[in-house]
Each structure stands twice: as C-alpha cells, then as structure tokens.
Symmetry: C2
Subunit: 229 residues, 2 copies
C-alpha cells in the first residue's frame, strides 16, 4: 500500500520545503517504498491525521501513523528490515542521533534565519500571518530583522561544515561508500535552502557541495524534481 | 598474548596524556584485551617498532603492528569479532569517522592550544626542546603565545559542545545505552586536558561533564588511574 507523507508546502503544492519532511522522503526512497506526498500548509498541520502531532512530517503506513523524522526512520528500519538499511546496525542508530543534533544545533540556526523571509514570501496570505506571528515570537524580533547576519555569518557557517568536509576526504557519504540516514539529515537542511532561496550558502568548489549534488542525484533525482529557487 | 600499546608520556612514565593513545587504550579495554602500555616520549616515537609510524599510538598484537587510533579500532573490530563491538555495525564504522572529524576539527584546536604550555612543562629537557621547535613551527608563533585565547574562547568552546550536550538528552553515550568507539574519540580529547592541566574546560554541572565522568568510570576506572592534574 502507498505510504502517505504529509509534506510541508507553501502556496505552491509542488515545492515541499521542510528539512524534516525531506529527511522522511529520502528515507522512504532509500527503503524503496511507494509513497505519496500530501501537500500540507502550516495551518493544516495541527489537523493532520486527527492531530497526530504538532509538527510534520507525519506518515501513514496502512494502519500506522508515525510522527517526527527520526522516529519515522527508526520505524521504517524496524518495519522493513529486508529492505536497504537506513542505519547499518545499532551503532549507526545511536551515532545518527549525534549527527542529527549536530545538524540541528550547527546548521539549522544559521540556515533557518538566512532564508526566513523567502520562506515567508512563499506562503499564502493566511499562512503568512501565522508564519510571521510564530517566528517573531520565536526569534523575539521582527521577521525582517532575522536574516541580518546572513552575509556576515556566511564564512563562519562554511567553516562549521569542516567536520563534514574533512570526512569527505575519507569517504563519499556520511554512511560510508553509500548514503545512510545521517546523509539525509544534513541533506534536508541544505534542500530547505535550495528549494526556498537562491542564496549560495555553499561555494561551488566546496567538497560539501559535491556531496550535496550526489545526494540530489539519488533515487532518480528525487531531490532535483523540485527546481532550485 | 599481551598487546603492546606505545603510549605517549612526558617525564613521568605513569601519566600517558595523548588523546589518540587514550582512544586506543579505551578501545583495547572495551574489547577486554590484555594490554601493556609502553611509555614512549616524543623523541622515541620515530623509532617505535622499526619506525612503523611518525605518530603513536602504535600497537603490537603478536606479529601484527598497527598505527593510527582509528585504524587500531578498525583492526581490533576485525581481529576480535566475538568480543564486544566497538562500532555496532558497518553504519557505525562510517558515522564514527564523522564524529572523529568533528572532535578533531572542533575540540582539538581549542584544547590543544589551551594546555600547550602545561604539556611542555611535563617533558624532560630534551623533549622540551623538540616540543617547542615542532609546535612553534606548527603554530607560527612563540609557544607562550599559543594559549592566549584560552579564557576568551572558553564560552565558545563550551557552546561548540552543544551537539553532544543535546544528544545526551536522548541517550547516555554516543554509542547509545552503552559506549562505543566514538565515545572514546571524544573522551580522548578531554582526558588529554585532564591529565595535563587543572584547567576547568567543562562546567561541573554540564551534562557533558556527567558523560565524561561516566567514561572515566569505565573498565574499573581505567581513565581515573591517572590522577587529574
């Protein structure tokens, strides 16, 4: 049966942009599972699957509803053990959590602030109101002021990728010779920017950009089906 | 047969201090293998095992000599598959490389500079000369000037531990419920400081400090056998 992925979009239903939903989409593709993206706007999230979660991704797999990108990956690994592994064993499950926290703590604050206005611009009017209110409360400042450090912080952001960059001199993916779930964790953060903004957050000759391009190629170019902004 | 671990020391042979040698010691203990630390000074490193490597750790396991802490962990995992796993599968082997690069790129530059003078002070006269020359060439400045950013950089260093700190709200070790090799990677960096300097690089109430204390307890307190400086 086709799995449903509730996937965050703005006014264009064909441009899912949530980093966390992209993690889930890539995990589903990695497992070779049939899935259908259900375009979902911010204001629709609380009603998804009888209010299953305050956030998406949420997936429905037959009778089973699972929320949270990491929990979805763990669920898929358990439910489909005969399909390609997402973690490469129990050690990988544990270490992926470190990488998830690294991505969330190191990459998300800068990238999320950098493209905030562009995400806002891609919402319809009602969702624009929600987005402004919720983000101004979160950041404690006017929406327009949040990306102020984008240019001045770019060099530090690129430097913060050094662990990934250095790792790529040993192996082509975080998962080793082939990608595993932690590759999709970091991919999600980058795809969030690629889909919403033309901001060149990676230098073209950065090995990290080469890795991102390899990830965009995966699963018949799943990530490229949404054109860069 | 007892495995030999060539272990970096200063003038006191009972105080091994190299972060990389500590990774190997913890990996050997994790595997439950008998090993003997061979105290080795900087100037003796090039002669270890017929010049097997420019750096230590080096181990001799019967007829086999292996250099480089990560290579030693991979060797032990392959050579002793029936003993407790260091990686928890192939995914863990790959992801541990990312964590090794994170530790090396994020923790080592600050910590190594912070305790440089204290490492120098712990060498005998001939090794002091070697250490000063090699480190002044590496840093491009006088040895005494290298730790200048220790106090001003402390807050940023502690902030850089946020991925580890946040992960600890999910699980007690990087390896999950029990430690794996990436725990020893980060442990090695912290033990390097603990053994050489009284510098309080971690706040006592930091969950990261709680994790470090748990690591010090492992294997009958292997890490605590060397008293804090």
């Amino acid at each position: 049966m086709t799995i449903l992925l509730y996937d965050l979009v703005g006014s264009d239903p064909a441009r899912p942009f949530s980093p966390h939903c992209w993690k889930a989409a890539m995990a589903l593709a990695h497992k070779g599972l049939d899935f259908k993206s259900v375009p979902t706007r911010f204001l629709e999230v609380p009603k998804v699957e009888d209010s299953a979660s305050k956030t998406i991704p949420v997936i429905r797999d037959g009778g089973k509803v699972v929320a949270d990108s990491f929990a979805i990956a763990l669920y898929l690994e358990d439910a489909y053990p005969d399909r390609p592994t997402l973690f490469g064993g129990e050690g990988g499950k544990a270490m992926a959590r470190f990488i998830e926290r690294w991505s969330q703590m190191t990459l998300h604050p800068y990238l999320g602030a950098a493209v905030l206005m562009e995400i806002h611009a891609r919402q319809d009017e009602a969702n624009k109101v929600y987005f402004r209110q919720s983000r101004e409360a979160r950041y404690g400042k006017q929406l327009e002021d949040v990306p102020a450090g984008r240019d001045s912080g770019l060099a530090a952001f690129r430097a913060s990728l050094e662990p990934l960059r250095s790792m790529l001199s040993y192996q082509p993916f975080i998962g080793g010779q082939t990608p595993l779930y932690p590759d999709y964790i970091v991919f999600g953060a980058f795809q969030w920017v690629r889909v919403t903004s033309p901001f060149a957050f990676l230098a073209p000759d950065d090995p990290v950009n080469g890795w991102f391009e390899r990830c965009l190629d995966l699963y018949d170019g799943l990530g490229r089906r949404v054109e860069a902004a």
